[in-house]
């Protein structure tokens, strides 16, 4: 469960006042809105990457407003994917597992199964600079899911992918979410790809959030 209760955000001249939202059930939830209304800021506040000026962020029913990003256990895929350039694909995929003190054997096993599932097993020894845009996106999604989080935040997912790659990746992701009962918050200004399977869709109109269709 992802909740925001009267949350206000301030970043430079940007300001978002008294935002409340709640995504209760596992499944895909969309937060849509025009560019610049603050969708990314909302996701970063949920992930603990942006301070909250007032209000509460709750995850799994607990107030996590002052809790570190690591302790929130959210799988996060940022818009710019931000793969770690000095690490191989294998190391990128296993990063969260290693950070959470999984044993090397468990990390290796998880990376192998996830990469096989994503169809990127042959890329494990490569570095991000040797990947195409689509492959980078695939690796970044795998990295966000590797430690088996029950909450995942995606910022403009699949936007940088071409048609065929996007369709197959979306299908893979929908299956994954169903199988693992993950609560997904996807922020996008192009909701058409996930609209059909989304449980909830909220439209962000600065400074208020109003329910959409």
């Amino acid at each position: 469960m992802i909740e925001m209760d009267n949350v206000s955000l301030k970043r430079g001249s940007f300001r978002l006042d008294k935002l409340s939202l709640c995504f209760g059930q596992p499944g895909i939830h969309l937060l849509i809105g025009e560019t610049g209304v603050g969708k990314t800021s909302v996701v970063e506040a949920i992930c603990g990457l942006q301070p909250v000026a007032s209000g509460q962020v709750k995850l799994r029913g607990e107030n996590v407003t002052g809790v570190s990003p690591a302790a929130r256990s959210i799988g996060y895929l940022p818009q710019d994917v931000a793969l770690f350039d000095h690490l191989s694909v294998r190391e990128n995929l296993g990063f969260a597992c290693a950070a959470r003190k999984w044993s090397p054997a468990s990390t290796r096993e998880r990376v192998n199964s996830l990469s096989a599932s994503l169809g990127i097993s042959d890329l494990l020894q490569r570095f991000p600079e040797q990947l195409s845009g689509g492959q980078k996106h695939c690796v970044a999604l795998g990295r966000a899911l590797a430690f088996d989080p029950d909450i995942v935040c995606l910022d403009e997912p699949f936007a940088a992918l071409d048609g065929a790659t996007r369709d197959s990746m979306i299908q893979w992701f929908i299956n994954y979410v169903d199988e693992h009962e993950v609560t997904v918050l996807a922020v996008t200004h192009q909701p058409q790809w996930l609209q059909a399977v989304a449980k909830t869709q909220l439209k962000l109109d600065n400074p208020v959030v109003s329910p959409g269709t």
Binding site: A70, Y76, F84, A144, F147
Partner: protein, 267 residues
């Protein structure tokens, strides 16, 4: 290439030629003088106090470089990533050792450890005119150079990956060690090389704060000074030539380990 561009490149080429030629001529002057009277130059090297000065120079400069990298990197990261009151003032103060005349740095250290309550530390541990004074004088200057290099490095690196590492389960410190430091490694190697080079060649602050006591606080630049004072030009040049060779070796290693960033090349 159009004509105006050709003139532009030619002017820069001439400037580079003059400067690089001057550098090579300086090295050649050393070699020429030493090869003119090799026995005198060699006899300087066989003297125990000079051999000790070489070892002391290598040891203190290495220790100072390590301390400088450690302290300078920590402060650079703090100033680059954390907003706090008086941050611009700290940033300004970090440049002082670079802009102050070297002798002033030495005099300041001497006053600090001899004329203030900190003199108790000197009484207890024996700092001024001892080996610790050499390391302290070298480190004070080295930290400033490491700070400037590493701050530019951290400023040029997006915070994004660090934040992402934290969201994936790292603490801030862990994200710094696993993501930021490896990505800053070219800057780190360059900063270490600069700190070492500054420490290795530091003269003014060392002379004032550690003195020029033969066999005790004599580092290579001080040896050159003492040899020149005693009229042994060949000896001074021989020591200088050794410093040039050691510095060239360190610079080569730095470049091989990727400490020098390559820019784009226009065709």
């Amino acid at each position: 290439m159009i004509r105006s561009s050709r003139y532009f490149v030619t002017v820069m080429g001439i400037m580079a030629l003059i400067y690089v030629g001057l550098l090579l001529a300086m090295v050649w002057a050393h070699v020429a003088l030493v090869s003119g009277n090799p026995q005198s130059a060699w006899s300087t090297l066989t003297r125990p106090e000079i051999q000790q000065a070489i070892l002391l120079s290598l040891g203190t400069s290495l220790l100072s470089a390590v301390l400088s990298v450690w302290i300078g990197t920590a402060i650079a990261y703090l100033i680059s990533r954390v907003r706090f009151p008086f941050r611009p003032l700290v940033d300004f103060l970090m440049d002082l050792p670079i802009f102050l005349p070297p002798l002033v740095v030495g005099v300041s250290l001497l006053i600090l450890f001899r004329q203030t309550p900190l003199s108790r530390l000197d009484d207890l541990f024996g700092i001024a005119f001892q080996v610790p004074a050499i390391v302290l004088a070298q480190t004070i200057v080295g930290v400033a150079f490491v700070y400037r290099t590493m701050k530019a490095t951290f400023d040029s690196m997006p915070v994004r990956q660090e934040e992402l590492a934290q969201s994936l389960g790292c603490s801030w410190y862990s994200a710094f060690c696993k993501i930021t430091l490896p990505q800053a490694s070219p800057g780190l190697v360059t900063a270490a090389a600069i700190a070492w080079a500054r420490s290795f060649g530091e003269f003014g602050p060392v002379l004032v704060f550690a003195g020029s006591i033969r066999g005790r606080t004599e580092v290579m630049p001080v040896s050159i000074y003492l040899e020149l004072n005693s009229g042994n030009l060949d000896g001074a040049v021989m020591i200088a030539l050794i410093m040039v060779v050691i510095a060239a070796i360190v610079l080569s290693v730095t470049r091989l380990t990727g400490g020098v960033q390559r820019g784009g090349v226009r065709r």
